[in-house]
Amino acid sequence: MPGLYTGTALFRLAMSWAVLAAGLPLLAVDFDRDVRPVLSENCYTCHGPDASQRQAGLRLDQEDQARHVAGEVLARVSSDDPSRRMPPAYLGHDRLSDRDISSLREWVEAGAPWSAHWAFVPPDPGNPPAVKWEGRVRNAIDRFVFRRLEQEGLAPARDADRRTLIRRLSLDLTGLPPEVAAVHAFVGDPAPDAYERLADRLLRSDRFGERLASRWLDAARYADTQGYQNDAPVQMWRWRDWVIESFNSNKPFDEFIVEQIAGDLLPEPTLEQLIATGFNRNHRSNSELGIVDEEYRVEYVVDRVETMSTVFLGLTVGCARCHDHKYDPISQREFYQLFAYFNNVPERGRVLRPFNSPPLIPAPTRGEARELAELDGHIAEATSEFRASREAASNQFAQWERSLAASGGSTDWYPRRGLAARYGFEGGLGDGVASGQIRYAEGRAGRALALQGEGHVEVRGIGDFDYNDRFSLGARVMPSSPHGVIVSRSEAFNTDDENAGRGVTLVLEDGRPRLKLIGRMDDWIIASAREPIPLRRWSHVAATYDGSRLAAGVTFYVDGLPVESVADLDYSNGGIRTTEPFRIGEGADAGSGFAGAIDDVVVYTRELGIDEARMLAVSENLGEIARLRPDSRTEGQALKLEHAFADMHGPRRLRTAWARLGQFRRAREALARRVSTVMIMAEMNPGRNTFILERGAYDKPGEQVLPSIPGIFDSSPESTPRDRLGLARWLVDPANPLTARVTVNRFWEMLFGSALVRTPENLGTQGERPTHPQLLDWLALEFIESGWDVKSVLKTIVTSSTYRQESNGSQDSVRRDPQNWLLSRAPRFRLPAEAVRDQALLLAGLLHERIGGPSVKTYQPEGLWFDIAAGGGYQRGRGNDLYRRSLYTYWRRTIGPPSMLNFDSATRETCTVRTERTNTPLQALNLMNDVTFVEAGRKFGERLYLEGGETIDDRLAHGFEMATARRPNAQEAEILRGAFERQLRAFRADPDAAKALLDQGESPAREGIPRIELAALSMTAGMILNLDETLTKQ
């Protein structure tokens, strides 16, 4: 395949061939262009930056030494004596090529001049040169490109026609082709700035942000799952939407970078700035049972360093993880100095599953934020109404209090919402069933259950909690032994089954209340109160859990007050539900029973608040409280009285106000629970110490290092950034020689199919040299000076004559510049994976355009997940979810969407800034047979019938124009018509086939179109979707 196996040498060869062919003198030897690559490729492994591999103490990557021994180097590489020759024959190296040797010779003869690697030197474009084709110059880009063409004896191609231009520009800036009406408008626009206005319009389109985001998601390895082993879901789409919005609002790219790297460290960061830091949490993460925590935590930090270096610096810093970089001046120490910036995240190596792991924040969308604010307003308003009505009811309250005190009744009150069960044992066991000998004892108030370490009360149907449910358990206890289960719904612990202990258990161990949430194997959360409760005295114990899957989500209350707790075990990555019954006073194991008295057992299906826990501990009923003097009541007692009054016994106005307040609070809680979270960056304080890891291994720490940027850049102690924010600001400092170049280089690649530096992932010494170094530098400076204005730099590029050339170049251009390195014509290449599908949906009228939101599950062949993954299968979405733009397609990292992967998309496992473009039979099968495209063909056919005019020729020509932005020529029109007629005849002979074809896909067929004709039109429309021209930007 052309272009796949190119290297520097081949490139230079081709260039010089072009030069020779043009009869021009060869360019004089340039150290950085011609010599350093030879040294780097052939010598640096043993005589380069890597200290551990360095032979004879010689390094040829540093000016002094290299220039000193230049003559000797030349002698050794050109020696005929294999025992003297370098690189050594005994290591299997061949003699250097004649060309490489002659470059070295020229260099030595010129006095071995030295210059730094081009990418480490600040951009310096020089003046845009005057060129032969002044009339064609639209901006400085053209000067650099034309100058080069001139030198090579080539000429630029003509401007492409308007139809070609509008399709090219639309696909490039929005990822979708233009509507036919827009094509006609542009073709008929007589204004001299028609093209510029078109560019402006496309840059303003919301589709622009989606188009730009697609590439950024590849670089940022964005996906919807964790990426290891069972590959559970995560939720990072709020970050994805932030990216789209940033491009659409033309956020200056320096801010775009700073917010992603260190938004959390900005002063008083906004929600959006926090969401931005999700960039560094998009890496794969492992929740597999049995992994070593630190091993993976280190991997995450390494991934951040590698991604940051690739995306912003275009350097393969990751090579220095295990040893000094072999080619670039990055030592292993410097790698870990960068590592130190990203090493302070309060995170764990083994992440939770499914969904997000800390640090995370709820990230309401704009709409949700608005709703939340509205509810807050309602709550505030309801609160003041409640206060006012309570005040107005103070007489009634006093009266009620007096009557309560006088009545001597047993009226009581406790929180009822979410109450699943309550056992006071006054009238017996309720729906409970005694197992073993059950006795009663005197309780704190009334009767209590008395147990001697055996026997329990069994209840069916309550306590069926999972690890992400919220719940609360409580009881009044008087233990006579420090060990024993208070309540449980769990399996036996004492077995070798991997589900030993599965379920929920509230137990006393060493006198300390302890809550256990246990799943399979080591999926355990165990949290305990720090202090024991007293023996042979009544205490109230409650435990609440917030469903966070973290021990920190458990709160213990003793006698109504929150107490300090400790996390004994803190991993919960699997369900904990069990079919065991709920038991009071015992677990499933013999000998686990409680000894002493138990009373007032409660089970709530929600997390109780602090006031509620306090009231729950109050054993006195309302009458008893009322009889106490107000100033001798405990806070819990007073609260209970107040709540009872507002809830049930006060005047109507007060009760209504109370009920309303409760409603709004619950509505807010429910909404807040629905809000998606996003994983973000945060700093621990104090941070972790960072060590050089020997051979990159997590368990081989060596010397300690502090955060710092590599010495190749100015890293004096004053200028070295101290933290991530400093690092981010250094990345976008105009003095940084790389960030702007790397960025414009990738923009160039997006538009031209290959970048000015053909290795956009590597601008280091082993990367390719830019084909147009001055142009790259000019664009980089232009970008910085514009205030990192993305739309502006893109507009500059697309309005150049270079961009506007025809892709159908002259024979000379094709023959002498087959790879189009010199830009003697516009490029022609297949659309990216997303655009292939999005275009088909658009043409079919199926595309459902809506920005953002959770990822959607589109058509996917049955069983794709089930075949190789654990857990459930793929639950395809319905309706509009099937027709969203492809950047919203749910991305399971270990089993990516096949119709994306077939078209060379990144896998989203690691940062990818360049993918190869291939052309395979699987793509053909995909386009012909995937229901997405079959359905698109069918709906496209419908549109042609309804919108394309009256005759078949008109309809087909319209379809052709929709797909390619041009009218078919006579020959093409004849083939289209013939194709349609052949299909029509065949369907007439087999009407069932027509029906079967029109049944493909979920979208209903429009009524009133003759079926046979529609089937034939659908096949022909499908063929238009498969045209090389449709799939290609040209």
Partner: protein, 477 residues
């Protein structure tokens, strides 16, 4: 019929079937010009005369227990229940599943071992069929790896690195050696699961192309729906209708090609033709109606059922007959942390006969010489017990330091047992074989010097064996 003949034949059939429309003739002429540019490999390959043309890798995913299958350790009967000495464990890191275990009691195997064949190889009673062909196999007892968890361990075996992003071994071979058959992919993958527990997940990266062009990735043959994704025409589109569609599509693409001299257009036309041929060749391959009864005697009744390991072994033989370069099977379910005796027996029952049958079948057809068969998992299992010490329910954790795989055919010496392990089957005592060494050896057998099959990415040359790998010459004929 050789592939080009097949193409011509197909075209003629289509042509005569279509009748004399002018386009049919044009279509034929174009088709004959458009020989599919099947990738014929890198020009410098093979580096030397290959011993084998094909590799079938029978990957046993989850980590089969070498102690209960191949690595016979009679002293464990005496040591049963004793603590594994620290001098043996030597600080080997443990998975999180047993790291909190307080004791590490040695557990003998529950199964009988016997020596088999003239070579006297030890095989347990769980694998009677494998035992029956012991003289044709070459056992490596001292495979070892660094990884202790499934994902990185399987990824290492398939791509030479624990982390994602590298090309799989099959992709390297498709890239380096190309395809022998224009109608089928060079690298085919099939996955199955046992009748016991479902087993560990797999990931498409295991047959991915990493940084190589995606055309070299493995093509998964499936047992549900289309054997290859999107292979079948939608209902309502017959083969002749598809032919018609392609002729017209090609005619339009030709016009475009005359306008633009872009070789990609030619390639696209050819790839649509290959897709069309695959639509015939793959179903042919999966059509078992002509397979004689004796086949099912050999491979077992399971081979009648799509999706089983036995069926996949049979498909593997057919693929190799068709010239497919690399066939990768994955069979899940070898992760016996608990209830090993029952679960392992099921796994063996699901796979033993078919694995042996494949070797015998290849041999009978004269294909074993040119086909290297590999059987093995991503690590072995610990001598110490995980969970409760009972003869029927004991389990074993992951063990990276030594485990057993076997090779057959493809120029590997049969009847050899290579490498010794200590009396606990915990450490290699002699001839340790790293994953990179195995890779180097596999590549060597197909004529590839593993240090020279490289691809430049991120400014350096990458290879399957990273910076390691020694060919195990003692194993080769």
């Amino acid at each position: 019929m050789t592939p080009p003949e097949a193409a011509i034949h197909l075209t003629r059939r289509h042509f005569f079937g279509r009748g004399a429309t002018g386009l049919g003739i044009a279509g034929l002429a174009h088709l004959l010009r458009a020989e599919a540019p099947a990738h014929s490999g890198l020009p410098e390959l093979p580096h030397f005369a290959p011993r084998a043309k094909h590799i079938i890798y029978l990957f046993q995913s989850g980590g089969p227990s070498q102690i209960d299958l191949f690595d016979h350790k009679p002293r464990l009967d005496e040591l049963h229940g004793t603590e594994l000495p620290d001098s043996v464990r030597r600080g080997q890191r443990l998975t999180g599943m047993t790291a909190s275990q307080k004791t590490f009691p040695v557990h003998r195997t529950w199964f009988d071992f016997r020596q088999h064949g003239e070579s006297g190889a030890w095989v347990s009673e769980l694998l009677p069929h494998t035992a029956g062909i012991a003289d044709r196999l070459s056992f490596i007892r001292t495979m070892h790896t660094e990884a202790i968890n499934h994902d990185p361990a399987v990824t290492l075996f398939q791509t030479g690195a624990q982390l994602a992003g590298r090309p799989s071994i099959g992709a390297w071979l498709a890239y380096g050696l190309g395809s022998e058959n224009e109608d089928l992919p060079a690298f085919v993958v099939m996955t199955s699961r046992g009748s016991g527990r479902v087993g560990q997940a797999l990931y498409t990266r295991l047959w991915g192309s990493g940084f190589l062009p995606s055309r070299f990735q493995g093509v998964k043959f499936r047992s549900q729906g289309d054997p290859v994704l999107f292979l079948s025409n939608p209902t309502g589109v017959s083969r002749s209708r598809r032919r018609m569609f392609l002729d017209d599509l090609m005619a339009l693409n030709r016009i475009q090609q005359e306008e633009f001299s872009d070789p990609e257009i030619e390639t696209r036309i050819a790839q649509y033709e290959m897709a069309f041929r695959m639509q015939a060749s793959v179903p042919d391959l999966m059509d078992f109606s002509n397979e004689p009864e004796s086949t099912y005697k050999l491979y077992g009744e399971d081979a009648r059922k799509p999706g089983t390991y036995a069926r996949h072994c049979l498909v593997a033989r057919r693929l190799v007959e068709q010239g497919v370069r690399f066939v990768q099977l994955f069979h899940r379910g070898w992760d016996q942390h608990r209830a090993l005796p029952e679960q392992l027996a099921k796994q063996c029952a699901d796979t033993d006969q078919a694995s042996a049958a494949l070797v015998m079948d290849l041999d009978r057809r004269g294909l074993l010489d040119e086909t290297l068969v590999v059987w093995g998992g991503e690590f072995g299992r610990t001598v110490y017990c995980q969970g409760k010490m009972t003869e029927r329910t004991y389990g074993r954790d992951h063990h990276p330091r030594c485990f057993t795989i076997w090779l057959a055919g493809g120029g590997v010496r049969p009847g050899v047992t290579y490498g010794e392990t200590d009396e606990f089957s915990y450490n290699a005592v002699s001839n340790p074989v790293h994953v990179h060494d195995l890779h180097a050896t596999l590549l060597h057998q197909v004529g590839v010097d593993h240090t020279r099959l490289t691809h430049r990415y991120q400014g350096r040359q990458f290879r399957l064996t990273d910076i390691g790998g020694e060919v195990i010459r003692d194993l080769l004929t």
